[in-house]
């Protein structure tokens, strides 16, 4: 989780990722961010994010992202 927060903080230093759960809904993340995030997640956690997981629900909060990463790691 720490590593994920670091990645997010690099993208948006001004956002409190512990609290925010509307990253997509409030247009905080844009397509640049989603692309960088998926690339970073891939290289940091060694999980490939399949297209069906690239949906708003998985990107709205750091927690949702982390849940997705854990789920993909288990598979």
């Amino acid at each position: 989780m720490e590593e994920l927060l670091e990645i997010l903080q690099d993208l948006h230093p001004e956002v409190d990722f512990d609290e925010c759960d509307t990253l997509v809904d409030d247009k905080i993340l844009d397509s640049f961010d989603i692309i960088s995030l998926i690339t970073e997640i891939n290289s940091t956690f060694d999980v490939a994010v399949p297209a069906e997981e690239i949906i708003p629900e998985n990107f709205n909060s750091a927690e949702a992202l982390w849940d997705m990463i854990e789920r993909l790691r288990d598979e």
Partner: protein, 503 residues
């Protein structure tokens, strides 16, 4: 002979009055509605005393914004599209350059307008779109209008930190739309899926051919470009068959393997441009859509939109580059060398554009205009303006144009044209910054900013976000103790780039 872009609308409205012209995910406008409302807005602007001047359209991306554009043209004024997501600082600079007297806004942008030091009139779209048309007044404007009169001003990145407003006239847009539609093979069955923002010339590709043919254009919600499967599902739901997108929007779908789950069912024409298409991704698209036409487009805002095209007609290996091909009909490309003469086949020259599609120049900026809208050096007999793009290219053995690079520090990032100098100019405005240098990592497509000054990265990013559009915000920031310089005192960009790549 057609002399006004609105003739496209007038010629089609009685043929397909109830067909949808422009729509987004929930709202749609028929040709009749587009016609009536834009004539209403034109009449209102005339009654309020505006003519032959810039009128700002400051609205969220929506079919209504397009009606506002046409309304402005009906009044004999020219529209200046500004997006709700543009940073306030940039909008302020644009207002300074324009000194507009009228702004059309919507519910979202109206409170934002009030924050500016702006003394002119503010019209809300919803209040004015139902104005009854004044047929006589509209006819009088039309009668007095020439095809060399401006339609719009769009702002593009300027290296000094001040955006430049490119002014385009009816004749250039008509020429462009005629040539582009014949290359894309548009007709009344075309259903466009628009990706590009309305505040750039890129959206001309969907806006005007829709009028010319009585086609339909969907403005795809921006948020779908983050979620590839939903995006393809949207294309299928709306039966979209023609797209003109930036390369990064296309590769987002293919690289995330969305095609494993869902495939475009109706797409038959895929035009792309503004960036090099990585062949690996391109080949995935071709495999998924073996019968579709793929067309690479190239051109600067200063020549109205696109100037060159290449329809993919052969296989490309991973090391190949897709050509930008040949100019549209009625446009000529001159590849000029340092000596002002045309280079020989195979040699590198600067792309210079000759033709009706060359725009009128930069608004209120004779200095920048005279730098690149210049007399054709091959013609000393009479005045003839060409546009020097600053792009370098050469012909391959098939006599197709191949784009190579820029002469200066302009880059293409996520489909946007950016002057690295503009980023630096803004960074240097920060009180704590002593000096800065922006470079571009071509492989990873990242803007890297080196800076000297006592400021945290987070604080600097927050500062930049208030001044620059999102796509110009550096992806990587590096604080330095001192900036490396070359022997003659300039910042050593090459050394910075080398250091960055070695990391």
């Amino acid at each position: 002979m057609q002399t006004n872009v609105l003739e496209y609308l007038e010629n089609i409205v009685d043929k397909v009055p109830d067909k949808v012209a422009y729509a987004n995910e929930k709202d749609e406008l028929t040709f009749r509605q587009v016609y009536d409302r834009s004539r209403g807005i034109g009449s209102l602007l005339l009654h309020e005393g505006y003519t032959r001047e810039p009128v700002v359209v400051f609205m969220a991306k929506h079919p209504n914004s397009i009606v506002a554009f046409y309304g402005v043209i009906y009044s004999g004024c020219y529209y200046v599209p500004i997006d709700e997501e543009m940073p306030k600082h940039r909008i302020g600079l644009i207002f300074q350059s324009l000194q507009p007297r009228a702004i059309i806004c919507d519910d979202v942008t109206e409170p934002v307008v009030r924050e500016f030091d702006y003394q002119g009139a503010v019209y809300k779209y919803a209040d004015i779109c139902g104005t009854p048309e004044d047929t006589e007044a509209l006819a009088a404007v039309r009668d007095a209008q020439l095809d060399i009169d401006p339609i719009y001003i769009v702002f593009t990145s300027g290296s000094t930190g001040v955006p430049k407003g490119v002014v385009a006239c009816h004749r250039s847009v008509i020429d462009y739309i005629e040539q582009l539609s014949s290359v894309l093979k548009c007709d009344e069955n075309t259903i466009f899926g628009n990706q590009t923002p309305l505040y750039f010339d890129a959206c001309l590709k969907e806006l005007y051919p829709t009028l010319k043919f009585g086609a339909t254009a969907y403005l795809i919600p921006k948020n779908l470009f983050m979620f590839p499967i939903k995006l393809v599902e949207f294309l299928n739901e709306k039966k979209i068959n023609t797209i003109c997108w930036v390369v990064s929007a296309l590769t987002m779908i293919s690289a995330f393997k969305a095609f494993d789950k869902v495939r475009p069912e109706y797409l038959h024409t895929v035009a792309f441009g503004s960036e090099v298409f990585p062949i690996k991704q391109f080949n995935i698209w071709r495999e998924v859509l073996p019968n579709a036409r793929f067309i690479n487009l190239y051109g600067p805002t200063e020549a109205t939109g696109m100037s060159c095209y290449y329809e993919v007609d052969r296989e490309f290996g991973l090391d190949d580059v897709i050509p930008i091909g040949r100019p549209f009909h009625n446009t000529q490309i001159l590849l000029l060398g340092e000596d002002g003469r045309q280079v020989r086949d195979g040699e590198v020259g600067e792309i210079c554009i000759r033709g009706t599609a060359v725009t009128l120049g930069y608004y209120h900026n004779p200095e920048k205009t005279s730098e690149c809208f210049v007399q054709n050096p091959l013609n000393s007999a009479y005045p003839e303006i060409i546009y020097r793009t600053g792009d370098l290219a050469r012909y391959n053995e098939r006599h197709e144009l191949i784009f190579l690079s820029r002469k200066d520090y302009q880059i293409k990032h996520m489909g946007h044209r950016i002057e690295l100098g503009e980023i630096e100019a803004i960074v240097n405005q920060h009180d704590e910054i002593k000096t800065s240098c922006a470079i571009f990592d071509d492989d990873k497509k990242k803007i890297v900013l080196y800076y000297v000054g006592d400021v945290e990265k987070a604080a600097l990013i927050t500062f930049l976000k208030s001044k620059l559009p999102r796509y110009m915000i550096p992806n990587v920031l590096e604080q330095l103790e001192a900036m490396p310089h070359t022997a003659n005192g300039k910042i050593d960009r090459n050394l910075l780039k080398k250091k960055y790549l070695e990391k």
